[in-house]
Amino acid sequence: MVDSLYALLQRRQPRFTLVLMLILGLGFVPSIILQARKDSWIREFILESRQDNPSSRIWLIKDLLSLLGQSGTSGDIGLIYQTNRTNINDVEFVYYTLNYLLYPRRVLIGPSTTAIRDGWDILNMVALHHEHPPEWPTSVRSVGIFFQEANGRWGIEFGERGGSS
């Protein structure tokens, strides 16, 4: 294949070779080099997705999936989400994630008996436990403090969808 390409280049006009070199030199080769570098996204992603990185969002999701899988449709599960930072993005991420993972089930948050429909309700309930009133999205900061203060430990009990919870 290499020989045939070399022969092809010899046969072609210099312009053809120039164009091929430009495409390879500006398009293909830099892309390959960039992705082999230490700071490339691929490396970052693979490192991030390793289980020994506790702050990885990927593993937060995996843990959640695993917990939900174990719990089935009833019983208690404990979710621990620890973070050293009080970050609005992390809280939002948990909220979105819960909405995604829990759909379409109804849940209770323990020890309260209030029905929880989704992550929104969970965040509001979490905010109620704090001295500041819930004012989404301004209440996010107080929810973030909750995570830091209590190590983000929640108990979630599942009920049947649409049934009494």
């Binding site: 164009v19 495409i23 398009g27 999701i61 995996k62 994630t97 929104w120």
Partner: protein, 461 residues
């Protein structure tokens, strides 16, 4: 193992529907090896997700039975159309795109992109959903449309979930819900399995279109450059809608471009289908389709301008069921169409001070794009005579329209423009990538044939 098998069956169903549609539309056209399957897959993704949407409107959820039934029914219908019209097609064996299927070079392309494919597969089926938008928007919607027919789903009226954009198009969600339907339940891992096929289809779709324009080795090099662009690798397996939209844009632009050059009606119809799939994939799909139509009108010779109107009307007509459903949804603050008024645009024009430098800076973000935008600039200078061709002007008009649309969107956005740019600009540039690759091909081809004015024999070799 069962997940893999059922996902493969689902992918085969998509190819089956797409191949039958392609056969009905374009007859016995010959393609670059792998090009037909890629085009069929891209078409099939749009057709099947649209069909699942219509079924959902009628109260039928995606299940194994419903998916396989609709696949068989649609394939038979398309095949019936083909049989009926066989012999009346413009693309008989005498007007093949390429004289040979290039099986060796297609095989080489497959081998070269294997490493990219391996990573995209790992990012899609090796880990659960991990991107914000994939979880908050597309993953949630896929679960919704899998669990309930959309006319019954309370989700679409639940404003507490407006962060997930209740009114976003449902094409990618139905594509994922199809996997769930085949598996018989939600599976966070296998739901994304289709993305590896989308990546491969995008590469071979581009290769197929490029082979018609330029030497196969140059087409090969450009296709690999597109396949390994860091932003492409980054987003292909992420589970957001951008890469699926990019595949449809590649199809729409590629077939319109071919129609402008060869005038075969089948290409025009296929481009209409791809454009309507864009509309059903992301909000950006509608302005992109409008941009394609307007560019077509601007670039076409006088006698062909009415085709642009026909194109736009057809895209809107095919998308009518989606627009009808959209009207039943609550309006959210992020309604960009309603914000396209002087009252919103003029007071926010000072945002251009942030937006324009960000757009310029993105083109030299080597970490995201390598040298692909520089390649576009170099090719435009070397092959500047290509500006005289209406097909190249069509590509440039489309390119400029797309960029202008995105700039305008940032001007009127209800969010902080800088924050939004930080999280979305790279993905929006992905939508412009297929047009840019076709432009590079058009300019380089012109550079190669001028001044000798002898067409490269490679096109037919």
């Amino acid at each position: 193992m069962m997940g893999l098998v059922l996902s493969a069956v689902y992918a085969a169903s998509i190819v089956c529907v797409g191949a039958a549609a392609l056969k009905a539309l374009a007859g016995n056209r010959r393609y670059v090896a792998g090009g037909q399957t890629a085009t069929a897959f891209a078409l099939g993704c749009g057709i099947l997700s649209t069909a699942l949407f219509w079924m959902s409107l009628a109260g039928i959820r995606p299940t194994r039975v419903s998916i396989l039934s609709v696949t068989i029914l649609m394939s038979l219908c398309f095949y019936g159309v083909y049989r009926r019209m066989n012999g009346q097609k413009e693309d008989g064996p005498a007007s093949t795109i390429v004289s040979a299927g290039f099986p060796r070079i297609s095989g080489l392309l497959f081998i070269v992109v294997l490493s990219g494919l391996a990573f995209v597969t790992y990012a899609s089926v090796g880990v659960p959903l991990h991107e914000w938008d994939a979880i908050a928007i597309w993953g949630l919607k896929a679960k919704v449309v899998y669990h309930e027919p959309i006319r019954e789903a309370a989700y679409f009226r639940d404003l507490t979930k407006s962060y997930s954009h209740l009114d976003y198009p449902l094409g990618p969600s139905f594509l994922t819900a199809g996997v769930y339907g085949m598996l018989g339940g939600v599976n966070d891992i296998w739901g994304k399995s289709i993305l590896s096929c989308v990546y491969l289809a995008f590469v071979f779709l581009m290769f197929n279109c490029l082979c018609e324009k330029m030497d196969r080795w140059l087409a090969f090099a450009l296709s690999t450059a597109a396949a390994f662009t860091p932003a492409v690798i980054r987003w292909a397996g992420a589970g957001t809608a951008d890469f699926v939209l990019m595949m449809y844009i590649a199809g729409a632009v590629g077939f319109l471009y071919r129609w402008l050059e060869k005038g075969q009606r089948a290409d025009f119809v296929i481009a209409i289908l791809f454009s309507s799939f864009c509309v059903f994939t992301k909000h950006e799909g509608l302005p992109i389709s409008l941009a394609l139509g307007i560019s077509l009108g601007l670039a076409s010779p006088r006698g062909k301008r009415h085709w642009a109107v026909l194109y736009l009307i057809s895209v809107l007509a095919v998308s009518l069921p989606w627009f009808g459903f959209l009207q039943t949804l609550p309006q959210t603050q992020e309604n960009y169409w309603m914000r396209m008024t002087a009252g919103h645009i003029i007071p926010n024009l000072d945002r251009l001070k942030v937006i324009l430098p960000a757009f310029m800076a993105e083109t030299v973000q080597f970490k995201n794009w390598g040298g692909i935008w520089i390649l576009l600039a170099v090719s435009a200078v070397l092959g500047r005579r290509a500006f005289q061709e209406s097909s190249t002007r069509f590509l440039w008009f489309t390119w400029v329209h797309q960029i202008c649309i995105y700039i305008l969107a940032y001007v009127v956005t209800p969010h902080n423009a800088k924050d939004l740019i930080d999280v979305s600009l790279t993905r929006l540039y992905l939508h412009v990538l297929p047009v840019s690759i076709f432009l590079v091909a058009a300019h380089f081809q012109e550079f190669l044939i001028f001044p000798s004015c002898v067409k490269s024999d490679s096109l037919m070799s």
